[in-house]
Symmetry: C2
Subunit: 253 residues, 2 copies
DNA sequence: GGTAGGCGCTGACGCCGCGTCAACCGCAAC
DNA sequence: GTTGCGGTTGACGCGGCGTCAGCGCCTACC
């Protein structure tokens, strides 16, 4: 039986010697024989196996998976189907990411701040669904769906103005906190009222006092939200929550 | 000035303590102060910087790039534009990859071998353009474009039959080589003639003898092609090239 | 005979962004 | 005293090799 040394194999298959040694090291492709000083020699069967490895590798499969397939422990079609799923998921993530990046570029160029709606746009499906699941738990399906619908109904100009209005509220709240105003201060409650109005416009309906309270909790409990507020001014999330609680309590009484 | 310990920061920003230590280790975000036993304390400026880090990280930028941006050595818009390019390139690569994987699944299910056209489909842009550039060098723009057009013009059934016809030729060539037939043997040249016919049908025109010679060279020079032939039978690429050279020389004389 | 060069070998580090141990320290509550 | 929390500094691991470093063997040339 003919055998080939590594240099030949690298030329035939277009892989580096390092790669062949790696495949040997991880047990993916062992030489047919190793003679005089550890020289690797590959036979026809090994070349064929290498071909299959390279084919599957080109499809993006991991070496461990490829090994499982070639050793018969895994069905190729099953593995590829699963792989195709992952590819599609990853592609969708890149899609959203690219859109968010484009958004950010436009906003930076226009000198406008980040839109809160885009805060979650780049999150992967798991985190996004976690957030949405929490929202549904807190406020119910109807509220979440109504909110999404309301956002869609809004005119372009109106929708674009939302981030700026939120930003303004955040800054005014930060100022008041800086000046030492308590959460139940009239000036603070005035700003909260405006905050409530903006939230109501994005939700498509005026939230119940309890729901608004819950939103304040979310601002602190959710790392993503808290981070955004604390970027405006450290501690703002907690301050805002307190003010929202006061406002909600007054609505009820 | 207020400062926060790590536990607070992890809750505010939603990052792990490990991440904060990592950012400290690579010099991306250093604590405002470290007191009594190395305890890290973060000030408002650090929280703001962390916010910016997380924002850019969510967009998929690398930590090194983020550091450059925040330290003023790199313009955010420029970096993001470049990043968006890369995202799009990567997304396109995944698209092609997913298509190739789907193809492969269909072929495996149908029990048919890989279509040669798909050999290059999953390659990244660089390698693909390298290959195409080489093809244009070898045969000229017109030939390459005509070939692509011919493939598109072909009927579905015809196009699907191409892989099988190539496969059959490869197997017959391998058999003849096994039996010790020389490249100029009549039986070998008969198979080569069929090979030429298939190539002609995919190119949309009968190749010049010189172009056909060049194709034989490519079969050996290109690792990807050589690998595919040598998977059918080790050494087949070289054998096929020799046979193609003989055929081309006879056409000229 | 020496020596330079080419090809092969075996480690081992590096990449990227942390997760995840392990081992230890200081402070507070029981 | 001990338990537990919250912090510290290492270190390994992931995937798929690229890229040295340092060595051995064979050949060619002087």
């Amino acid at each position: 039986m003919r055998t080939w040394p590594m240099t030949e194999v690298t030329k035939l298959a277009g892989v580096s010697a390092r790669t062949l040694r790696h495949y040997d090291a991880i047990g993916l492709l062992e030489p047919a024989a190793t003679g005089h000083g550890g020289l690797r020699r590959y036979g026809e069967a090994e070349l064929l196996r290498l071909q299959q490895i390279l084919l599957l590798r080109r499809l993006g499969l991991g070496l461990a998976t490829i090994g499982d397939i070639l050793d018969g422990g895994l069905d190729a079609v099953t593995a590829l189907r699963r792989h195709a799923e992952q590819l599609k998921t990853e592609r969708e993530r890149l899609d959203r990411l690219a859109a968010t990046v484009d958004d950010t570029i436009r906003q930076l160029e226009g000198g406008r701040p980040m839109a809160p709606e885009t805060w979650f746009a780049g999150l992967d499906a798991r985190r996004r669904s976690e957030y949405e699941a929490e929202a549904r738990r807190r406020w119910g399906d109807a509220a979440v769906d109504a909110g999404a619908a309301a956002m869609r109904r809004m005119g372009e100009a109106e929708r674009e103005a939302v981030p700026g209005r939120f930003e303004a509220v955040h800054r005014r709240m930060a100022e008041l906190r800086e000046r030492g105003c308590a959460a139940d201060d009239a000036a603070v409650q005035e700003v909260v009222a405006e905050h409530y109005a903006i939230v109501a416009s994005t939700w498509g309906a005026a939230p119940e006092a309890q729901a608004y309270r819950g939103l304040g909790d979310l601002y602190v409990d959710s790392p993503e939200f808290a981070a955004v507020f604390d970027a405006v001014a450290a501690g703002l999330a907690v301050y805002l929550r307190a003010a929202m609680h006061v406002w909600a309590d007054r609505q009820v009484s």
